[in-house]
């Protein structure tokens, strides 16, 4: 089974304001997009397990014009608190790269 990093040309994560993280999965092409966008491993339940949050809080937006799947979810704690390890949320996507589709 391919890993996410094999079928995407670019994956990124970022804060969407201090209370949300958003992840953009740029698939390699339209074929890779249509083949994997609905994968079980990219459903809210699976994504919530990776990040340790409630699946009902995960928002999922397929953007076929860009061959992109966008995933957004609340931060476990607001940005910048005492135990913050990733102020911009810029490295949160890395945990998705090796998931199998």
């Amino acid at each position: 089974m391919p890993k996410l990093m094999d079928v995407c040309r670019h994956v990124r994560s970022k804060n969407a304001g201090p209370f949300w993280i958003t992840v953009d999965l740029f698939f390699k092409d339209a074929e890779a997009y249509s083949q994997h966008v609905d994968a079980l491993a990219l459903q809210p339940e699976a994504v919530a397990r990776v990040f340790g949050i409630q699946s009902s809080a995960v928002k999922r937006f397929p953007v076929p014009d860009l061959d992109v799947l966008k995933l957004s979810f609340p931060r476990k704690v607001p940005q910048g608190g005492v135990l913050e390890r990733d102020m911009h949320g810029g490295q949160q996507y890395v945990r998705l790269l090796s998931i199998e589709l």
Binding site: T22, F61, D65, L66, V68, R75, R85, R95
Partner: protein, 458 residues
């Protein structure tokens, strides 16, 4: 005089202070800009900038960019709009930017009429607004706790375009705004000049980060030309390009929803928008809609929560690295025990965090590989700076010389600093994720003018 059916906004950079080239601004002016607008703020770098009212960028960087824009404004006579001054857009940050602008004006012999827009809110007033239920929480927050407002060091309300439009109509050459949505600063002049709301707001969103909607994000800013039912976007620098892909992809950026963007007074809906290349470098966007809603302003508030003192060491010894998870657990237990036996109850509520950079510092999740080297960061958090430092000093011998087992000889890990403990000061937290309902977009905004021309001739 360039006659045009569009209102053209020159966006020289994604953030004032990030770097502007005068040649790019000149190119935009020559191409018929009706306004120069950019943003100078963000919450992206964390709550400290709002709580401390300090700018993320250096004064020299802000001054260099602002000087280029003020000279361009004076030469072209088109208005200059800067939003969210000084990173947080609180009153002190606006005044800090004002002083830089006045210094530039004096050095360059410029006499602009400057409008200052203040959108900082008094915590007690926001508490009263919360009590009369004029404030709503935004997801993921579900409650409004009136006491949260008075705990904040600074609260700002994000302005829409209306205060900018009013300042320009009152004759401002330059508007230095407090906290404002990125989009509103760019949309203000097209909206004022009667262009369509959907196109103006969408153009504002696409251009908010300057060149980020182009193929070479670092190569200068962009120009947006807003018409009655479309907008065009193109880079200022001739070597750079905008394509339908780069432009439409920007809707994803730092936005939890790629199709909807909530703004003061409405929601931008780009789900029906289409993007078409006009030529090699520019893109036309049609079909953007702005759906009016009751007017709300988003509130941002931040406050100090505790104090931290940190220490850093490097570990290359293969023995602790071979079994890092258990080693760090043992170290954490030993550090906590040491704090308990020396400081006891005096330590109060505190936290010790060990973060092995090179292994799992970012995720905090156990890894199953053996690193060759780690940077081990120790973070003590306590109610006062002094207590955080006392905790660090108490932990010092164990942190720097923790053996792999009780009988082992004491190692010395590689510590880079003397003194070893570094006082970080306060840790800040965002406390608000709420909107306030207002009857008038300007009721929470205070505007003042500085008329340098009059002063010079008085």
């Amino acid at each position: 005089m360039i006659s045009s059916s569009t209102i053209n906004v020159l966006v020289p950079t994604g953030a004032l202070g990030a770097g502007i080239r005068a040649e790019d601004v000149d190119a935009g002016l020559a191409a018929g800009a009706h306004a120069i607008a950019c943003d100078a703020g963000s919450t992206d770098s964390g709550p400290a900038y709002l709580a401390q009212a300090r700018c993320k960028y250096s004064r020299a960087a802000i001054k260099a960019d602002l000087a280029i824009l003020m000279r361009a404004q004076a030469r072209s006579r088109v208005p200059l709009l800067i939003g969210s001054c000084g990173t947080s857009g609180c009153d002190e940050a606006v005044d800090w930017t004002r002083d830089i602008a006045l210094e530039i004006a004096q050095e360059q012999g410029l006499e602009p009429r400057i409008a200052l827009l203040y959108s900082e809110q008094a915590p007690a007033q926001m508490q009263r607004a919360a009590q009369r239920e004029a404030i709503r929480p935004l997801p993921p927050i579900t409650t409004v706790d009136p006491s949260a407002f008075v705990q904040c060091d600074h609260i700002v309300a994000l302005m829409g375009p209306e205060p900018y439009v009013a300042a320009l109509e009152a004759g401002a050459d330059i508007v230095l705004g407090g906290r404002t949505t990125d989009t509103a600063v760019l949309a203000a002049v097209p909206l004022m000049r009667g262009m369509s709301e959907g196109a103006a707001w969408h153009a504002g969103k696409i251009a908010e980060c300057g060149g980020l909607c182009a193929t070479s994000p670092r190569e200068g800013g962009v120009m947006v030309r807003v018409g009655v039912d479309f907008f065009d976007v193109e880079p200022l620098r001739s070597s750079n390009r905008c394509t339908p892909y780069t432009v439409s992809a920007h809707m994803l950026y730092e936005n939890s929803d790629p199709f909807l963007l909530t703004e003061p007074g409405g929601v931008l809906d780009v789900s029906q928008a289409s993007y078409r290349a006009l030529d090699e470098r520019s893109v036309r966007v049609t079909g953007s809609r702005f759906v009016r809603t009751p007017y709300t302003m988003k509130l941002e508030g931040a406050a100090a929560s505790a104090y931290q003192t940190i220490m850093l060491t490097g570990i290359q010894d293969p023995k602790p690295l071979a079994d890092l998870g258990p080693f760090l657990s043992r170290m954490h237990q030993a550090l906590t025990a040491r704090v308990e036996e020396t400081l006891g109850a005096a330590a109060g509520s505190y936290d010790i965090s060990l973060r092995p950079y090179g292994w799992n510092a970012v995720t905090g999740i156990e890894e199953d590989f053996v690193p060759r080297e780690i940077g081990l960061l120790f973070v003590a958090t306590a109610a006062t700076q002094d207590m955080a430092t006392q905790i660090a000093k108490t932990c010092n011998p164990l942190f720097f010389h923790m053996p792999v087992h009780r009988e082992a000889e004491l190692p010395s890990y590689a510590f880079p600093f003397s003194p070893a403990e570094i006082e970080r000061g306060a840790v800040y937290e965002f406390r608000l994720n709420h909107v306030i309902e207002v009857d008038d977009p300007r009721e929470l905004v205070r505007t003042t003018f500085i008329n340098l021309g009059e002063k010079a001739h008085a």
